[in-house]
Symmetry: C2
Subunit: 265 residues, 2 copies
């Protein structure tokens, strides 16, 4: 998503040129290019797919919408399996229109995970609940903290449900380091993502994630927490940023790799 201006073949070629061996993919470009074709493309290039983004949006009130969401999440699990990744990232969903019941929405997510968890496990895929920054609580994700995400995940086996640790969403939270330790102790850190916090936020606040090193977050500090918790998996850089998207994708990928080495290693 950081370089969504690149087609999948361009992305794979650019990763090869830069020595990047792992890549996180989003469902939309994969579906557009073709699931089997994408799987072959990355496999032939020797690339490993770290995660598939994203399932989720599990807070619907109506049974028809709920069934549709569950069906879509089962498809996402199947897509992850075909791509060879063991992790499907979940953005849980916001409040239904007119609802003010955060607790009820979170419980509906738990209900859905009870159905999706075993289905994912049977495909060798783990669900990774991503707490999103509290500024997304009403319209995108009612799971706002790592503690909330773990409260949900721990109702299920770790090989079914864990969490996504993303610096952008949790950097402000002084309880997050302890929650990372909790997640690590339970084997529930299913992926670790980096993005920096920059201001002013753009209208709608979705596409303002900062390039590594441009903002307020100490990447090494958070990498330290995650590694101290036993995480040894890949580290993803996921930037939603209109400025980066308007530039040459290969240049942005190279810059991002350089920033990663400078600020996170």
């Amino acid at each position: 998503m950081t370089v969504k201006q690149l087609s999948l073949p361009e992305l794979v070629e650019a990763c090869g040129d830069l020595g990047i061996r792992n890549v996180g993919l989003w469902r939309e470009p994969v579906q557009a290019y073709g699931l089997e074709a994408t799987a072959k493309l990355v496999r032939d290039a020797g690339l490993t797919v770290t995660t598939l983004c994203r399932g989720g949006f599990l807070t619907a009130l109506g049974p028809k919408e709920r069934d549709a969401a569950l069906a879509d999440n089962r498809r996402a699990v199947e897509e992850a399996a075909v791509l060879g990744t063991d992790t499907l990232v979940l953005v849980s969903g916001g409040l239904p229109t007119g609802s003010r019941d955060l607790h009820g929405a979170r419980e509906r997510i738990a209900d859905a995970l009870g159905e999706l968890g075993p289905y994912a496990e049977s495909h060798g895929v783990r669900l990774a609940i991503e707490p999103l920054h509290p500024m997304f609580a009403s319209d995108r994700c009612v799971v706002s903290t790592l503690a909330q995400a773990l409260d949900l995940a721990e109702r299920f086996p770790a090989q079914q449900v864990g969490v996504t640790v993303d610096t952008y969403h949790i950097w402000w939270d002084d309880t997050a380091p302890a929650q990372i330790a909790r997640a690590g102790a339970g084997g529930r850190i299913h992926t670790f993502q980096l993005a920096d916090w920059t201001t002013p936020l753009p209208e709608g606040v979705l596409n303002g994630r900062g390039q590594i090193g441009d903002g307020a977050i100490d990447m090494r500090e958070w990498r330290g927490y995650v590694e101290a918790a036993g995480y040894t998996g890949p580290i993803e850089v996921e930037l939603f940023n209109d400025g980066l998207w308007s530039r040459d994708g290969r240049e942005v990928l190279q810059e991002t790799a350089r920033r990663f080495l400078t600020h996170a290693m």
Copy 2:
């Protein structure tokens, strides 16, 4: 601030017409109209000033900036005393330019409170730390949760330092109800403010606070938590909203009073 388009005399007159007996004031319009003149205006109208907004911005690294901030906060305390309010709201300040040290910034706030608390108490004024929504953590307020605010406040006597409970900033936080109980048990709920959460957020996210009833927050629920914690003081409605500011101020004040009765009582 909800109707900052009204002059202070217009505000006082409109409050009288609507039967509103309590008003929270901001320093800038008070200073512009004159401190003594404002005190006389509200006193003659029989209005009580609930709080003065705002002191704070206590995170500076340099000794010169720190001294200037402390001096400004002492002036704010004096202004509160002249206006006859016992509560000065504090917005603690963001990260200094280039800093990524949230913990250090929070400790500098504690240092400053150690100097300001006794000064405030000697003027009959209590400082009310306002946790701001985590989306303001880098540029406005490194205190993002009620728990963090109470961790700071509890280092000092309650008659010196407490907290501001504002629905807009804490509504997403499932630990906030327990923190409200903690604050109430310690006599530290120094004011209670309402604003609703509406999306999409505007660029810069400062002036998007929703009119009561327009958004995702259950006002009665939060009023219930605060009252169960023993709070019996006034309830303020504080909206930063470009749309409301562009309308007739008396009409907005009337609408706000009506919305308060419909959604919070």
